[in-house]
């Protein structure tokens, strides 16, 4: 039986309102103002492809596996994305920011990837990678990205790590009030204790009135990379709540990811808290002065018997040099140059991601490892070979150490804080 025009109109209208309701429940129509702004910035992509040579994932894979930053910008900005289709694209991005750095339109691909991970988290939790879910469990249960170990075991491990480096071990100090908070972050607390301990030793040596935070916890970066923005905000807020409790005006981090996440939060909140966030290198150059660091190192060297020169390559940490500020990566180089007995073989501030960015090491370990090996090869192909790679970020250090054990055991990887501690303490 043929429907009349009126009936058809009513049917169509009810169908449309059904779709609208359905979309509302999926919150598909609710782009927040900041999300709209971000997506419109993404739409500025000229499709010029200047970014393509800069992408570490594209370099390690192929267009078919990962079409690069241009692929993300054009796919995501031109249509409302289908999460099933873009899932791999979004989680394979290291969010390193190499593309945004040189993009004439400054298209914020890393932020867009985070935004979409957030949407997948809210709307299609079935698409969250299993490794991410596991980390999320740690984050929501313990407030750290890695499962915390027994405190006694942790301090034993820290002590023995320092012994290996021929450095003293000092017990954790928690003060009720201090000018400076040393925020160690989860990776150096639970995975690479020598970095956390080195930070303590350096600040101690310089006579800084600092405290650690009880239950250091996480800065929130891993949660935001997984897409749980609520948890990420809760974690970062909790850091600043505790900083305020001890009345500190400066937060120092050795981890580039922590430093950037904390600073970005302050900027987002209007930057009017009177609290400064500083990466260790920045604090040393701007507040202490590289001359003082250099003279401490010289006086230690004069007491040493052997004066062998270490050849080091400095790796550029994305969260420091591309997200927080390139200037701080320059400070890292400046400090290393001021150390006696250290020869820098290469310090390209535009070196690409180590492979761990954006939790790629969890989502696609094989791709991540390929990227790492490309970075190691780049450094080893230089005319002058270093014995050591120094990175100002624990994530890079752990990632590159894994790459070294897989491929090139002749080179060592060390955190910048550890290098400094060895030189001045």
């Amino acid at each position: 039986m043929a429907t009349t025009g009126k009936e058809a109109t009513t049917q169509a209208a009810s169908g449309l309102s059904f779709i609208k309701e359905k979309m509302k429940t999926l919150s598909l129509l609710e782009n927040q103002p900041h999300e709209k702004d971000l997506l419109s910035q993404l739409g500025k992509c000229l499709n010029c492809g200047v970014c393509l040579p800069s992408c570490p994932t594209l370099e390690a894979t192929s267009f078919e596996v990962f079409p690069g930053p241009r692929g993300i910008a054009t796919t995501v900005s031109r249509v409302n994305p289908n999460f099933w289709d873009i899932r791999d694209l979004i989680y394979t991005c290291t969010e390193c920011g190499s593309c945004q750095e040189i993009c004439p339109e400054k298209v914020p691909v890393p932020k867009a990837a985070s935004l979409l991970r957030g949407k997948i988290f809210r709307l299609r939790p079935d698409l969250i990678p299993p490794g991410h879910k596991e980390m999320l469990m740690n984050l929501s249960q313990h407030g750290t990205s890695l499962p915390p170990e027994d405190e006694e075991l942790r301090s034993d491990l820290a002590e023995s790590a320092m012994k290996d480096l021929a450095l003293p071990y000092k017990k954790d100090v928690y003060k009720g009030s201090a000018q400076v908070v040393y925020f160690a972050g989860c990776i150096s607390t639970h995975r690479a204790p020598e970095i956390r301990e080195s930070g303590k030793l350096i600040l101690d040596k310089l006579g800084v009135n600092f405290t650690l935070l009880k239950d250091t916890g996480c800065c929130g970066l891993p949660a935001s990379l997984i897409g749980d923005m609520e948890l990420a905000d809760k974690l970062v807020k909790s850091v600043f709540d505790r900083v305020r409790q001890v009345g500190a005006n400066t937060v120092i981090a050795t981890c580039s990811g922590c430093a950037n996440t904390l600073q970005a939060y302050l900027n987002r909140m209007g930057n009017n808290t009177g609290i400064r966030v500083k990466h260790l290198a920045e604090y040393l150059v701007e507040d202490v002065g590289s001359q003082k660091v250099s003279s401490l190192a010289k006086s230690k060297e004069s007491k040493m018997k052997s004066k062998a020169t270490e050849n080091i390559a400095i790796h550029s940490a994305c969260h420091l040099s591309r997200h927080l500020s390139r200037r701080i990566q320059d400070y890292v180089i400046q400090l290393a140059e001021a150390l006696p007995g250290v020869q820098i073989t290469t310090s390209n501030t535009r070196q690409k991601c180590c492979g761990a960015g954006g939790l790629l090491s969890i989502f696609k370990p094989d791709v991540s490892n390929k990227i790492t090996i490309a970075r190691l090869q780049e450094i080893l192909e230089q005319e002058k070979k270093p014995e050591k790679i120094v990175a100002p970020c624990p994530t890079c250090v752990i990632q590159m150490n894994q790459g070294v054990s897989n491929s090139t055991p002749e080179i060592k990887v060390e955190d910048f804080a550890v290098l400094l501690a060895r030189k001045i303490v």
């Binding site: 000229l46 010029c48 492809g49 200047v50 393509l52 040579p53 594209l58 370099e59 192929s62 267009f63 078919e64 079409p67 690069g68 750095e101 040189i102 993009c103 004439p104 400054k106 950037n260 600073q263 970005a264 900027n267 920045e282 701007e286 040099s321 591309r322 997200h323 927080l324 500020s325 390139r326 200037r327 701080i328 535009r350």
Partner: protein, 466 residues
């Protein structure tokens, strides 16, 4: 974050910014480049057009002659300004046309060629010769300076021979069949000698990328660079495809490597028995442009010029008629940088030196007055009034000639011709007086005006004229 100082601040790290900074450094001043991102240089053709004829037809007049005949006659063209400055400096008064030979332009070109040679990216060509290249759709492209891999395809130097066109399946930036078909027409129109022929265009699989639907130029370039054996394989395939065709030359896509182009082409040449060359790049992404950008950066590093990237200059504070300090943003941080002199080499629409805002054009850092090709101020003119009624007009859309007007010393001036700030200079694509898309002198203007701006900016602070 703490503020810092530099003697001269150059804003922009494209061909103009880097050339200016190198000139400043060579005069002994302390110079730093601040750059927001890559601009048009990194996606450009990667060859330097100094002076192109309006209609490309053989025989091509050399750039030197065209500068004097065509460009210098337009009083506000950057070349004319450079020539005028030279005459003023030398106290020459005669404005005769034969007198339009410019020592400065010639020195700027020589210096540019030396700089590129210094970083193992030599470019061929001179002011005495214009090359005729084939671009990626088989049309004729005139240019003055090009890397050897491209210059080997200079049709004015190929007196006899047959060119075969070979590309790779999935690589949409270069279709050899299209290129070959169009070249057949092009060669008649430009008047190529009959002894130079275009042969067929053929597609082949790129080793390791068989069956790909999409293949990026950068993937081809990287693979060729990484393994020498790849070039051997490609060379053999080309040899096989060319068999029986009587070809002498092979026209390849402009992506035969990044660091090892010459090695790769040498191997391809040996294996195929043909003379291989890269065609001129037409559209971005451009490996040729990327290569030139990297070479320029190397060249800056070589003379100790630091490129601060990404350091975005948001604003420059003004004191009396001097520029004082720049507000800079880098990542999540902002700070100030003091400088004595400033060089604006921020480019045009792509570089971000000129932006479109509320339907008109704007210079974003200082809101400088902008002018069109005829020296009319356009700051509040609607963009649509600066468009031609034709889609692709031979003279280019007027909006692409919009820029900052400068005097002979490359100082931005007001509508009355007075310098706006005593310690500021501008060069490259941000200048008005020529059309970036159609004047055929874009990179040429960049390397010459930045040479002059560099020379002026290297001089110690001059006092404001009371």
């Amino acid at each position: 974050m703490k503020d810092f100082k530099t003697e001269v601040a150059v804003i922009g790290c494209g061909i103009a910014g880097i050339t200016a900074a190198k000139k400043i450094a060579s005069e002994g001043a302390d110079v730093t480049i601040f750059s927001k991102a890559y601009g048009a240089t990194a996606m450009s053709t990667g060859v330097v057009d100094i002076a192109n004829p309006t209609v490309v037809k053989l025989p091509l007049k050399p750039p030197e002659e065209l500068i004097s005949e065509k460009y210098a006659k337009k009083a506000n063209h950057p070349y004319a300004l450079i020539i005028r400055r030279e005459k003023q400096l030398e106290g020459r008064t005669a404005q005769s046309e034969e007198d339009n030979y410019s020592q400065t332009i010639s020195k700027a070109v020589t210096t540019f060629l030396e700089n590129m040679k210094d970083v193992d990216y030599p470019m061929e060509g001179s002011l005495n010769h214009n090359m005729l290249l084939i671009d990626s759709i088989g049309s004729a492209k005139c240019t003055s300076l090009a890397p050897p891999s491209v210059a080997r395809g200079d049709l004015t130097k190929i007196n006899k021979g047959q060119i075969i066109f070979i590309g790779f399946k999935g690589h949409s930036d270069y279709d050899p069949r299209l290129c070959s078909q169009n070249f057949a027409r092009t060669s008649k129109i430009v008047g190529l000698p009959d002894a130079v022929e275009g042969a067929s265009g053929k597609l082949t699989d790129f080793p390791g990328f068989e069956g790909r639907n999409t293949l990026l130029s950068i993937e081809i370039a990287r693979r060729l660079d990484r393994e020498e054996g790849i070039a051997t394989g490609v060379g053999r395939k080309i040899g096989d495809l060319a068999k029986g065709d009587g070809a002498t030359h092979v026209c390849l896509p402009p992506c035969m490597g990044i660091d090892n182009v010459e090695r790769n082409l040498k191997v391809i040449g040996e294996e195929s028995g043909l003379i291989p060359f890269e065609c001129a790049n037409l559209t971005p992404p451009s490996i040729l442009g990327f290569r030139m950008q990297l070479a320029l950066e190397d060249s800056a590093n070589k003379s100790g010029v630091v490129i601060r990237l990404p350091y975005e200059v948001k604003k420059i504070e003004i004191e009396e008629n001097n520029l004082k300090r720049m507000a800079v943003v880098s990542g999540e941080r902002s700070f100030h940088v003091d400088a004595d002199r400033f060089v604006l080499a921020t480019g045009s629409f792509i570089g971000g030196g000129i932006i479109e805002e509320e339907e008109t054009v704007k210079e974003p850092i200082l809101n400088l007055p902008l002018f069109d090709e005829n020296d009319a101020q356009v700051n509040s003119v609607f963009i649509r009034r600066m468009l031609s009624s034709e889609a692709i007009p031979i003279k280019g859309h007027p909006v692409f000639s919009v820029g900052v007007k400068v005097n002979e010393n490359m100082q931005p001036v007001s509508d009355k011709g007075e310098p706006l700030y005593s310690n500021m200079f501008a060069c490259g694509n941000i200048l008005s007086g020529f059309n970036h898309t159609s004047s055929g002198c874009r990179h040429g203007v960049a390397i010459t005006t930045s040479y002059v701006a560099g020379e002026e900016a290297a001089k110690k602070q001059r006092k404001r004229e009371e």
